[in-house]
Symmetry: C2
Subunit: 211 residues, 2 copies
């Protein structure tokens, strides 16, 4: 069964796609244009009632929320491709912890910066410079904690690559690329080495090549 992923042009669906590649799972994609409001079409809302990206369809199973989808596939195909949940139940606990840190500490400021710096002009809105500055400060403080953590272990959850690291790829790519805030990564030695490591994985290079 080929997994169908909606909205590959955007960051959150890329979180799913890079996971599918790591797990060697076949997939196809279906475009959804947020600027045209295609995520508010009745047909789309039947799949994802909040109008958010991504959704996957896998036979007659439909699932949304990118971090739920990556957990589902990492668990379902545990022994296929890269092990992304750690080996022990305690390692998995730490993967869950850092996935939650990504979602609740890292994501809100970087998402705000993405909206302001990359999408506001496309939506005909002016950039809220004060909000950008505040978000940048918040993200900096989060990255300071990451620097401490990554000075003690190679990856966030331990000495193994996991969903916790993978989940950072799409928005951090915006940060170092089109947002022109690469200094936030480069000014922190261990964060910088971690970013080089995870962003050079063949799976992520493939995602960047495809979309």
């Amino acid at each position: 069964m080929v997994v169908k992923v909606y909205g590959p042009a955007y960051a959150s669906p890329k979180r799913v796609i890079v996971c599918l590649i790591e797990k060697q799972i076949e997939f196809e994609t279906a475009p959804v244009d947020l600027i045209k409001g295609e995520n508010r079409n009745p047909e789309y809302l039947k799949l994802q009632p909040f109008g958010a990206l991504p959704v996957i369809q896998d036979g007659d199973f439909t699932l949304y929320e990118s971090r739920a989808i990556i957990r589902y596939y990492a668990e379902k195909y545990r022994s296929q491709g890269t092990e992304l949940l750690g080996k022990t139940i305690e390692e998995r606990g730490l993967v869950e912890q850092w996935l939650e840190v990504e979602a609740h500490n890292y994501h809100p400021p970087i998402y705000e910066m993405t909206v302001q710096l990359l999408f506001a002009s496309k939506l005909g809105l002016s950039v809220d410079e004060k909000l950008v500055k505040k978000s940048e400060e918040k993200l900096g403080k989060v990255l300071d904690v990451y620097e401490g953590r990554l000075s003690k272990s190679k990856y966030l959850a331990g000495d193994f690559f996991s969903l916790a690291d993978l989940s950072h790829l799409p928005f951090t790519q915006y940060l170092v690329g089109p947002m022109e805030k690469e200094y936030m990564i480069r000014d922190r030695k261990h964060v910088s080495a971690w970013w080089d490591d995870i962003s050079n994985r063949p799976s992520w290079k493939k995602v960047l090549e495809l979309y």
Copy 2:
């Protein structure tokens, strides 16, 4: 080994405590006073570098982020107490989906309302009425989706109680109690029945009795 939970007076640690009760796991608690800023003490920051609640200590294993902790215990003691992750891998996928919906759709507006209506005055701040109104509207739209979902299944992830439902208990208790916004639950027939069901579980009654 008795699990030590930090900060039982607050909502997010209660998410952990109700889970431990459902899973029949022994625990003890350690107070952390946010108003006094005890979450910024160096000793606390060694356990939770972001200064957030809760943290657990279980022997020499330390874990933070409430939704990571509940996943960890639901998995570790799968066959003890209430099964909270569903029976099949697809059911677990849906538990993960609705846990993410709780975290990303339900939590932000209800948390904003909690801060404004319950904590602003304790912190000597004035209530931002505009923000309360906006958050209430957002939460209402989320609850409309819940109403649709709960008209088709008894609980969020299907016809079984799970972490996804449990995760809603602490902040919804604030909503129907001290925030005096019970109408938001009662105006929606299926949400109302769901709330009666989950909030009357012995585990949650025990939490309310203890803290």
